[in-house]
């Protein structure tokens, strides 16, 4: 098992190094061989590790001492338990599928080798992130996945918007990481260690205020990475990256890191009711906030991006109300179906030759059948259609919120379920149904993607359909609950209860609400196509607000970025060049001026100097005589 755990991250790393160094010269359009092979082996090993963990074997392994300075001691080491195993499962499966898909999607791109090198680096970092056994190592790879995200968003760097989006992603994440790193320091200062096991063992001894502070700081990091309000702004822009990247990094894996981190820290969070409440509140708010924006977006990827934000909000709500397992369940299910949805949207974009605006789509159903059906399955799962994975995981969250007594969160979440179903099927109907709204020429060229792209779609739709049935039945005490029980044992606050009448009716309600959303979308976009425009006009200001994403970006620019830049310019021009350098140069000028003042004395005439000397001598003599008298 140790060898497997070591190889899982190292293979992609090796592939990254080889592809990155030699790809441009030697591999070129064969760059994917090594890359896909390494991830495939990592996937097999991950499966092996997963099975081992399921058999009850966990691993805690110190590899070597990384930093030992004074009292500060951090190891590089691995921790493999059930939580890690689930993450490994999602990361490696979606990762492998995206790798395969990219062979087709990125075919012929100038940076083909670069793309595969970067996503290999990402796989390495993500594997290490979930395998790490202490907070600092987690932080290291937390930043590393951020770097890969930056590189891949800005992959088409000649495009200004892509470069800007990459930078924005990194910077917004840095703001979150600022809190995260302070949280880590606070943990170290209070407990003297960063190792998960020792930190969690000592979690109870920290005391109220401090543990809340630690948790909130850690959560800041999660807010950044998992794109929660108010740091969600980077994720929609991140759609500038190639679609496989959006699927892998910005839907299925990296953005889940925040959820993973909070889940991992559950023993800490369990000690702070306040922090939990904040997590739940921010999650719930983000869920509905992003869902509202998703309702009106016209870019196919943007809709999915806001949907991702919203779904991540669900997970945080689950974490906050103490439904840890539900959060992880939803993470798993969402990883599969959202990865699938993004890959499908990539296939659509590919078919249309780069078009992303849904207003210029429509009627694609017949032309790209595989994409349509897989997309449909994904959307059903996203809407929480009974029987699919999304249904079970979402229901687990809802009932967790309800049974935990957080009925207000439950109501908001229920509304979000409705909105989610609506925008998912708005997407489907606008893209695949009704009449084609693009040029006839473009429409004629529409073609199904090559098998190397459609195969991953089919593969990913399998867990999308069955994961819920396998893991989630019976609800609340299904397979996944037993699997994760040990990890969250210390943190579970609400008593476990059996699936009963109450849970059953909750489930029915959410199913009905979801189907209601689908039906409304059908009514709006297929039955009465004039309705959306009319509604928009009636909603007026609200519609503009949502269309412009509530102007969050603009507010940030007006409140933070522009004043900061103006202030910096002022510092440079006035303080640096004016005051400080002015003082320095002023001293110089003072010396010069004094010199100029005294200059005429220096006539250059030797006899004049001599005369002065004699006078001086005379004066001295007179003084001497007077003094001696």
């Amino acid at each position: 098992m140790k060898a497997a755990v070591l190889l899982i991250p190292l293979l992609p790393l090796a592939s990254f190094i080889i592809t990155g160094f030699f790809g441009r010269r030697y591999f070129k359009d064969k760059s994917h061989y090594l890359s896909v092979a390494s991830v495939a082996i990592s996937w097999i090993l991950s499966m092996y590790v997963f099975i081992q963990v399921e058999r009850g074997q966990t691993l805690s392994w110190q590899l070597y001492t990384w930093i030992a300075a004074g009292k500060f001691h951090v190891d590089i080491g691995f921790l493999v338990d059930e939580l890690t195993a689930i993450m490994l499962l999602v990361v490696s499966t979606v990762g492998l599928m995206v790798h395969i898909y990219s062979i087709g999607y990125m075919h012929g791109d100038k940076g083909y080798y670069r793309f595969f090198a970067y996503i290999n680096l990402f796989m390495f970092s993500m594997f290490m992130l979930v395998l790490a056994n202490n907070y600092l190592l987690l932080y290291v790879f937390w930043e590393a996945v951020g770097l890969c995200s930056y590189l891949l968003i800005a992959f088409w760097f000649p495009k200004l918007s892509a470069s800007n989006a990459g930078m924005k992603a990194f910077l917004v994440n840095r703001v979150g990481d600022f809190g995260f790193s302070l949280g880590i320091m606070l943990i170290f200062v209070t407990l003297g260690t960063l190792d998960y096991s020792s930190v969690f063992a000592a979690a109870g001894t920290i005391g109220g205020g401090m543990v809340t502070a630690i948790c909130l700081l850690l959560f800041t990091g999660a807010v950044g990475k998992s794109a929660q309000f108010p740091l969600h702004v980077w994720l929609p822009d991140a759609m500038e990256g190639p679609t496989p990247v959006s699927s892998l990094i910005h839907a299925a894996t990296m953005v889940n890191a925040g959820v993973y981190m909070v889940a991992r820290s559950s023993p800490l969070f369990a000690h702070s009711h306040t922090a939990m409440l904040v997590v739940a509140a921010i999650g719930t708010f983000t869920a509905i906030f992003a869902a509202i924006i998703a309702l009106v977006q016209n870019d196919i990827k943007k809709v999915l991006a806001y949907s991702t934000i919203s779904q991540l909000g669900y997970m945080f709500m689950a974490l906050g109300v103490g439904a840890w397992t539900a959060a992880m369940f939803h993470l798993l299910a969402h990883g599969f179906f959202k990865g699938l949805l993004f890959l499908c949207s990539g296939s659509v974009i590919h078919a249309l030759g780069g078009e992303q605006d849904m207003r210029k789509m429509g009627g694609l159903r017949k032309k790209i059948k595989i994409t349509y059906w897989t997309f449909f399955i994904g959307a059903l799962a996203l809407s929480g259609f009974p029987g699919l994975s999304g249904f079970f995981s979402k229901d687990a969250i809802l009932s967790g919120a309800f049974s935990g007594g957080y009925w207000y969160f439950w109501i908001v979440a229920l509304i979000t379920v409705f909105l989610t179903a609506f925008y998912s099927f708005r997407l489907i109907f606008m893209t695949f149904h009704s009449e084609p709204r693009m040029d006839a020429k473009v429409f004629a060229h529409v073609h199904e993607s090559p098998p190397v792209m459609t195969a991953p779609l089919i593969v990913l739709s399998v867990p999308t359909v069955v994961a819920g049935l396998f893991l989630g039945i019976p609800p609340e005490s299904g397979h996944i609950d037993h699997f994760l029980h040990r990890v969250f044992a210390a943190a579970i606050v609400t008593p476990e209860h059996q699936f009963g009448f109450l849970s059953g009716s909750l489930m029915a309600i959410s199913a009905v609400v979801g189907i209601g959303g689908i039906l409304l979308a059908w009514h709006f976009y297929l039955r009465c196509p004039f309705l959306p425009a009319a509604t928009c006009k009636r909603a007026g200001r609200l519609y503009t607000l949502a269309l412009n994403k509530f102007y969050v970006d603009e507010i940030y620019f007006a409140v933070f970025i522009n004043p900061l830049r103006r202030f910096s310019r002022w510092l440079w021009r006035i303080v640096d060049a004016g005051v400080i350098d002015g003082a320095v140069n002023g001293a110089g000028w003072l010396a010069l001026g004094a010199g100029r003042l005294l200059r005429p004395i220096q006539t250059g005439k030797v006899q004049g100097y001599l005369f002065a000397m004699f006078l001086g001598l005379l004066a001295l003599m007179v003084v001497y005589i007077i003094l001696t008298l």
């Binding site: 005294l598 200059r599 005429p600 004395i601 220096q602 006539t603 250059g604 005439k605 030797v606 006899q607 001599l610 005369f611 004699f614």
Partner: protein
């Protein structure tokens, strides 16, 4: 024996003449010559003091020899500068030499 004062008056007069020359004369040759006068005035004073204070020890006389040697060297250098200057400007006026004016 001639009293010390006589020597000192002579020395002082000679020194003053020299000093006046150094300060007032324009020609570099005259300035150098007047410098010599000042040196010699000092020499007279030294010898006179030596003779009166500690006759036979010759301490003052030793100084005089030093001064003579230095004066010779100084004249040599001074005249050399004078010649160089004459070559450069065809003039020996001290007032013209104000390159070092501030």
């Amino acid at each position: 024996m001639t009293p010390l004062q006589h020597y000192l008056v002579l020395s002082g007069a000679l020194f003053s003449v020299g000093a006046w020359g150094v300060l007032a004369r324009r020609s570099i040759i005259m300035v150098v010559m007047c410098l010599e006068l000042m040196f010699n005035a000092v020499n007279i004073a030294l010898v006179a003091f030596s003779n009166y204070a500690n006759a036979g020890a010759g301490r003052g006389e030793v100084f005089v020899f030093f001064v003579l040697a230095i004066a010779a060297a100084e004249v040599a250098v001074g005249l050399a500068i004078g010649i160089a200057m004459y070559r450069l400007r065809e003039k020996l006026d001290v007032d013209e030499l104000d390159e070092m004016r501030g």
